[in-house]
């Protein structure tokens, strides 16, 4: 196994999918000769031809709506939205058509398509380049929403997403594009709709996904100094949600903290907290807490560090889990 970055793992997944299935087509803004602004499609046009990987006009609704038609016509489009916030023009196509066509046609038509969206912050991007938009998509029945936290998962989950008969919103944590690990291309690892325990621990479960998986693992390592044995669950699939893996972990540890970059209010973490509380109430020693982005528009780069959950903020939250039977101070 060679050590490669997440961006390279995604590139490998796209290449292998194009190689294995004639129906797979890649298109979007700048994905052709340039290879995408993050180079995820690097060299694919050169190696497989413009027939398989091509640039489109600059219009996100157009890209997604066009992909709907292509999928209706038997292809398996993999389209790129250049940045999270630039996907919003496609919102109507995604929520009214991509998510619903199978249902509207009672199974006569399906849309096996993947919408890749580089998302979240941590790269010093200026405004409109750093949104964590997952909750918009998870709140839409009919969509699968997937996000990898590691290069290996990036490869496996993208291959699974392209093979899926359902449309998939594939959220790529852009701050992890350059993180590296040895990656196997045998597809023996991830199952697309299962969460995974990244690190075992007995005291508390950190539930994270995408960009926050690495942060949760760093926190777990730092927590040993405080005497806490921290388990880390990586959700991988935000929708559908793997209740089984998550609740099994929380039942073992009795404490849980959900971590995400997106604003907390009305956020995806609220759903996770509700599900865990409903299903694990009698095993919980403390309320399930959240560490999230602030309820503000994404800040400018120089203030970004105040927005992003980090090891200290997560540790401070873990400390509030009634270890000594003290009341929890609710989040501000």
């Amino acid at each position: 196994m060679t050590e490669i970055s997440m961006a390279q793992a995604l590139n490998a997944a796209l290449r292998d999918a194009v190689k294995d299935d004639d129906r797979v087509l890649i298109f979007g803004e700048d994905v052709g000769p340039l290879g995408g602004v993050f180079r995820v499609t690097d060299g694919i046009t050169a190696d497989f031809g413009e027939e398989r990987c091509f640039d489109t006009p600059l219009a996100e609704s157009g890209i997604v709506g066009f992909a709907v038609g292509m999928a209706m016509g038997g292809f398996r489009p993999v389209v790129e939205m250049q940045f999270d916030a630039f996907a919003y023009p496609a919102f109507e196509q995604i929520t009214s058509h991509v998510a619903k066509l199978r249902n509207r046609t009672r199974g006569a038509l399906s849309l096996p398509m993947v919408i890749r969206i580089p998302y979240a912050g941590g790269i010093g991007g200026v405004e409109h380049h750093c949104d964590s938009s997952e909750a918009y998509y998870t709140h839409t029945p009919g969509l699968r929403v997937v996000t990898p936290g590691t290069p290996q998962d990036a490869y496996d989950l993208l291959r699974d997403s392209i093979d899926s008969p359902d449309p998939v919103i594939f959220l790529e944590p852009k701050c992890r594009y350059w993180s590296k690990e040895p990656v196997s291309f045998t597809r023996e690892g991830a199952a697309m709709d299962r969460a995974v325990v990244r690190r075992e621990g007995k005291d508390v479960t950190l539930i994270a996904y995408g960009p926050m998986v690495a942060t949760a693992l760093e926190t777990a390592a730092a927590a040993t100094a405080e005497g806490w044995d921290v388990e880390v669950v990586d959700l991988r699939s935000l929708s559908p949600f793997d209740d089984e893996t998550v609740t099994a972990s929380v039942r073992r540890t009795g404490r849980a903290v959900v971590v995400h970059e997106a604003a907390g209010f009305g956020g995806y973490g609220a759903e996770v907290v509700a599900r865990v509380t409903e299903q694990c109430f009698h095993q919980l020693h403390a309320p399930v807490l959240r560490v999230t982005g602030l309820d503000i528009p994404y800040p400018p780069p120089k203030l970004e560090r105040h927005q992003l959950p980090d090891v200290d903020r997560i540790l401070d939250t873990v400390a509030r889990l009634q270890w000594h039977d003290e009341p929890v101070v609710a989040g501000a």
Binding site: R106, L109, P165
Partner: protein
């Protein structure tokens, strides 16, 4: 640099293409377009009579509570029927909610067409089998699907076209413009057919667009464009035949605007007297497409009194069938709600299905 088509070659006719005056007499305002064969015109007439009767029947069924709502296309029969006649069974049609008559003309089962408006399911017919997309209620979104599907067929080497119906209001939506642009850039075999019926619910065309005509919106995207008298069935059929042939031959997309008029309100639930004069409606009744074609075909001896009677009888029988179908009580299955959300139901949906099943049992 790729060679662009000169703008002049894309421009629509300065005045709407027309073969027939309002009184059904032949006029020479049709440029290079040729008149379709008389058998085709008689077939168009038969379907227009059928479609008008279907439309009236559907509106009547709303009054009896058999349909939740019905958006009438009365007055637009020439456009509706020509849309179906211009296509082969292998072509894809992308209709809106106001295009039920086009689906009747295409030969779909009326009960299946009205499933959406009856409230049983979102789409009653099988789009894969009929090559008719679900009737689209969001505006202009289906134009992009048509462009994408046309491109897919082109890649597969099929010589089918995609035909997208939209109204005047929908040309203000961004997706319409993105679809024109994508279709042109990919040279996709798609025909965009705008039925400009004068109103987007209550908003008249003057408030919708300052364009000389909607047909001019194609030129900026490199799309060949045309405008036609939408109440002249001869002209609409001729222009659409030509547009479909152009797209089918691989020469790229076409935009056609038909000038027509929505004789009824937006739907049975709308009150058009709040925003337009009855005198205007009466003026358009004088331009009625069914009578205009009937007069022409009769004068030319393509159509006999006997034919007319036969078609009217057929339409009455058809309407009776629609009544019978719609008067039968169908209880949609609540458990069908959980099918086809995903290819395989999620565990959460399986649990919710069990919950609803228990409620239904109780």
């Amino acid at each position: 640099m790729s060679r662009k088509t000169p703008a002049a070659a894309l421009l629509p006719s300065g005045v709407p293409v027309r073969f027939l005056a309002e009184d059904g007499t032949r006029v020479d305002e049709h440029g290079h377009y040729s008149e379709p064969p008389s058998e085709r015109l008689v077939e168009a007439y038969r379907l227009m009579v059928l479609g008008r009767r279907f439309d009236a029947q559907a509106t009547a069924l709303t009054k009896q509570g058999r349909l939740a709502v019905y958006p009438s296309s009365a007055g637009q029969e020439a456009c509706q029927v020509a849309s179906a006649l211009a296509l082969t069974d292998a072509d894809w049609l992308f209709p809106t909610y106001r295009d039920s008559v086009a689906l009747v003309a295409r030969g779909l089962e009326p009960g299946e067409i009205l499933t959406l408006l009856r409230g049983d399911a979102h789409c009653g017919y099988d789009p894969a089998e009929t090559r008719v997309a679900p009737q689209c209620t969001p505006l202009a979104t289906q134009t992009l699907h048509a462009a994408g599907l046309a491109h897919a067929m082109q890649r597969r080497g099929e010589d089918s076209v995609a035909f997208a119906l939209i109204g005047d209001g929908a040309t203000s939506e961004g997706d319409f413009h993105e679809a024109l642009n994508f279709a042109a850039v990919f040279k996709a075999p798609v025909v965009f057919f705008v039925q400009n019926n004068g109103f987007a619910i209550s908003v008249p065309f003057e408030k919708q667009s300052a364009a000389p005509a909607l047909a001019y919106k194609g030129v900026g995207y490199g799309v060949r464009s045309e405008q036609v008298d939408g109440n002249d069935a001869v002209a609409v059929l001729s222009v659409l035949d030509d547009a479909v042939a152009h797209a089918r031959s691989g020469r790229g997309p076409v935009l056609v605007e038909a000038h027509t008029y929505r004789i009824d309100a937006h739907t049975n639930a709308d009150d058009a007297t709040r925003y337009r004069d009855q005198a205007e409606v009466e003026r358009w009744r004088a331009a009625d497409p069914v009578r205009r074609l009937e007069t022409y075909l009769t004068t030319e001896n393509f159509l006999s009194a006997n034919d007319i009677e036969r078609f009217r009888t057929e339409a009455e029988t058809f309407a009776a069938g629609v009544r019978d179908t719609l008067n039968a009580d169908v209880e949609p299955d609540p458990l069908s709600l959980f099918e086809h959300v995903y290819a395989v139901p999620t565990r959460q949906l399986a649990a919710q299905r069990a919950l609803v099943a228990a409620e239904v049992e109780a």
